[in-house]
């Protein structure tokens, strides 16, 4: 963990503070704090069962965290004082000097996407399989179209305002289909697409909601090397051209190390490392968590762990745990 101020700390789009999530007696996430920098691709990695998806579910409102604050800032240079003021006011979100702040832990899941602008994909793809690819992307623009259709009544009468909005929504969908290479499959049911195309469609669908932060749960799982490379290009395009910050969970280290501006490593619900790809790759605690450690390194790692993680009593238990996981 670098003590110096990193790029992502200067202007975070998402700031998670002291996040704790307990399921009965099980503490899935324990006092976790991290920042997602504006315009960065941030990766959340860790061994299986480390609590990565739980963090995602807290950020996107599918779980209500037991403790902690998750604040999203839209607009540049919003300081912590503004967030503090909003927290005290009891509001879910509010406008501040340079933009607006959203306290995600207070908002229901659909509002987080609708109002705050956080879109997500799922580890096991959740497309509308019986609907066409184009329809999937139109459903994602539901709230905009709903307002344009005068909550159905104007749309039922076929007023021109709604027809224009419907055309615009279709154009937007077609733009994303072009970028994800799916245009020739636009009229096919989503369930008929091959796996890699379904992954891309889910990302396109999330982007059609017009997010500020895109959360991807294992976007490269099940992709072949060529598709992974295409995914990298797509994510860079989303970051650079649409000014969208990306938070992703990934096991494919090829993808993670190549495109991430910032990596956070979780193990047993705690952050064990936080930094750039080079910093994390050489962090002994990360190596220990992923691979276990050699006997000669046990002492050194034990000291590190004792300093960083109070609960890790001996490296041998960590090593055993790693062996049982692999």
């Amino acid at each position: 963990m670098s003590a110096t101020t990193s790029a992502w700390m200067l202007d975070p789009v998402l700031k998670v503070e002291h996040l704790t999530m307990r399921f009965g007696g099980l503490t899935a996430i324990d006092n976790l704090s991290f920042e997602v920098g504006r315009g960065h691709i941030t990766a959340l990695i860790g061994p299986n069962g480390a609590g990565k998806t739980t963090v995602f579910n807290c950020v996107t409102g599918f779980y209500k965290p037991t403790e902690g604050r998750i604040s999203l800032r839209r607009g540049r240079g919003i300081d912590d004082a503004a967030v503090e003021e909003l927290t005290k006011s009891g509001q879910q979100f509010g406008n501040v000097a340079n933009g607006s702040v959203y306290l995600l832990e207070r908002m229901p899941d659909f509002k987080i996407t609708e109002v705050a602008g956080v879109a997500r994909t799922f580890q096991n793809i959740r497309l509308f399989g019986g609907m066409t690819v184009l329809e999937n992307l139109l459903v994602a623009q539901h709230n905009r179209l709903m307002r344009a259709s005068g909550f159905t009544f104007a749309g039922l009468l076929g007023l021109p305002g709604y027809r224009r909005a419907a055309e615009a929504a279709k154009d937007n969908a077609i733009t994303w289909l072009k970028h994800t290479n799916l245009l020739d499959r636009a009229d096919d049911p989503a369930a008929d697409l091959p796996y890699g195309a379904q992954r891309r469609l889910e990302i396109a669908r999330a982007m059609c909601t017009g997010p500020a932060l895109l959360c991807l749960d294992e976007p490269a799982a099940g992709l072949n090397p060529r598709e992974s490379a295409e995914l990298n290009t797509l994510l860079r395009y989303i970051r650079d051209e649409h000014d969208v910050s990306v938070l992703l969970i990934e096991h494919d280290m090829g993808v993670v190390m190549e495109i991430s501006d910032h990596i956070i490593v979780l193990d047993y619900g705690k952050k064990i490392s936080d930094g750039t790809a080079a910093e994390v790759r050489n962090d002994p605690k990360v190596i220990a968590a992923y691979l276990g450690v050699d006997d000669e390194e046990v002492d050194a790692v034990e000291e590190d762990l004792a300093a960083g993680l109070p609960h890790a009593t001996s490296p041998s238990t960590t090593t055993q745990a790693q062996e049982s996981r692999s």
Partner: protein, 483 residues
């Protein structure tokens, strides 16, 4: 198959064919089987027919071959071998014909059909569209067709048509909830009852007419739809079915026991008839006959009722088709496909569910209001669970989400039962169809579910098209909660 392939792999050609089969199998294609020759087709069909005949012979021997009548001093046993043999022969011949011409018919080679069965490109003027237009014209002209062709049965058949159209409308209303939003509703008859009682009570207490009460009845039913919607928001599957079932019964039991307000089991009498711009369908002053100069005939009222329900049903269809292309309709279908994905896209699933329940209930309310004015008398007897079951059966048999399917299923289910009542000429053959009415009906339902498990019209047509409209096969479409 393995025995055959090992047999033919002795020769080089056989080995090559085996290799091809393996390659096809790796690509997920069914193994290649040579088209059966006419000889083997005949033999196989005869074998099928013999087996079927044997099964029928065993199963029916006690029903057809032996007959006991109560006689003085015991039972009188008679043998009816000719009857039994003729049924066995019918089974043999029927199965042979089906086997020879359908099941074992040589596959017609159609390019592209075998590759993707789930996606079929639809033609611009598809058979469905033409069929729909013909059906619509026939429905519009029906009273006059009946008048010229069958003047003696005119009134009865028109009444039957009104009944069928009422069920078509109810089916279309329920189709929004079950077919589009995928929420299983076993208590749909409750909204039918709310619509009927709303109209009857408003008419009796405030002396309002049909046309004023119709929108109010729809509104009240929609409100009750929301009332039902709230407690079931978080329920899925069987639990959703049970609670909606209970809701239907609660409404009926309240209507039955709140005697002061609803008349209890005696029901409500003297519900006004609908008027055409204030003109009543009767003889005398202020009537339709007097105003137009057309001589009065009692059939005019039925023709008027027929056109009212036809207009209401077409309105339901028009609005449903329109809603499907609007964001709300797409959200209903998305809810049926995946509720969690809906929430992740910022869709308020509470509103989506409540709007589906309310819209479906509103059409149920309209239909109920029409039912009340047609009957002139309503009681809780008319709104039992069996009505919900029939409406749901129409939707399921027709194919979830399909508008045409609902029409076909209504005609078959409601019209079919009535038709069996009237096949008097079969009496001459010693077969009384009225006795076997329900049996035949049950068999027909089983047959549809065996051959068309997702209903008569099971494909879904997309609500938005980029280039080409392709039908989506039922195997890809989710069924939602409670199926």
């Amino acid at each position: 198959m393995s025995a055959i392939t090992s047999g033919i792999s002795q020769t080089p050609e056989g080995a090559e064919r085996e290799l091809e089969n393996q390659r096809d199998a790796a690509r997920g294609e069914p193994p290649y089987t040579p088209a059966p020759s006419a000889d083997s087709r005949l033999a196989a069909s005869l074998k099928d027919a013999a087996m079927t005949a044997a099964v029928v012979a065993v199963l029916t021997v006690f029903f057809f071959a032996f007959r006991t009548d109560i006689a003085v001093g015991g039972l009188n046993l008679t043998f009816r071998w000719p009857l039994w043999l003729s049924w066995v022969a019918i089974a043999f011949a029927g199965r042979f014909l089906i086997s020879y011409f359908l099941f074992r018919a040589p596959e017609r080679a159609v390019a592209g059909v075998s590759k993707s069965t789930s996606v079929r490109p639809a033609k611009r003027f598809s058979a469905g569209k033409i069929f729909g237009i013909v059906m619509l014209l026939a429905a519009l002209a029906l009273p006059f067709i009946l008048n010229t062709l069958l003047p003696s049965h005119n009134r009865y058949l028109l009444d039957l048509a009104i009944l069928i159209l009422t069920y078509v409308m109810l089916g279309w209303g329920l189709n929004i909830v079950v077919g589009l939003a995928g929420l299983l509703d076993l208590g749909y008859v409750a909204f039918y009852a709310v619509g009927a009682y709303s109209f009857a009570l408003l008419a009796q207490n405030f002396e309002l007419g049909f046309w004023v009460c119709l929108p109010m009845a729809g509104f009240f039913a929609a409100m009750w739809g929301i009332v039902l919607g709230f407690p079931v928001l978080r329920l899925r599957g069987d639990y959703l079915a049970i609670v909606t079932l209970a809701f239907g019964e609660i409404i009926r039991v309240v209507l039955l026991n709140w005697t002061d307000f609803t008349g209890g089991p005696n029901g409500l009498l003297g519900i006004p008839k609908p008027t055409l711009f204030g003109l009543e369908f009767k003889s005398g002053a202020g009537s339709f006959a007097e105003a137009t100069g057309i001589p009065y005939s009692p059939i005019q009222r039925f023709i008027f009722l027929y056109y009212i329900i036809l207009a209401l049903a077409l309105l339901t269809n028009f609005i449903t088709l329109r809603l499907r292309k609007l964001p709300i309709g797409r959200a209903w279908e998305a809810l049926r496909e995946d509720e969690i994905a809906c929430r992740s896209l910022g869709i308020n699933t509470t509103n989506v569910k409540l709007s589906a329940f309310a819209t479906g209930a509103m059409f149920g309310g309209f239909a109920g209001s029409f039912f009340a004015t047609r009957q002139g008398f309503i009681s809780p007897e008319s709104f039992t669970f069996i009505e919900s079951a029939i409406i749901l059966a129409i939707v399921v048999l027709g194919g979830l989400g399909s508008q045409v399917g609902v029409v076909i299923a209504s005609v078959v289910m409601i019209g079919g039962i009535e038709l069996l009542r009237n096949l008097g000429f079969l009496h001459a053959l010693g077969f009384d169809p009225t006795e076997y009415r329900m049996l035949i009906f049950g068999l027909a339902m089983i047959a549809i579910m065996v051959w068309k498990p997702r209903g008569l019209v099971s494909s879904r047509s997309p609500s938005a098209i980029y280039k080409e409209k392709k039908k989506i096969g039922a195997d890809l479409v989710a069924q939602g909660e409670g199926h």
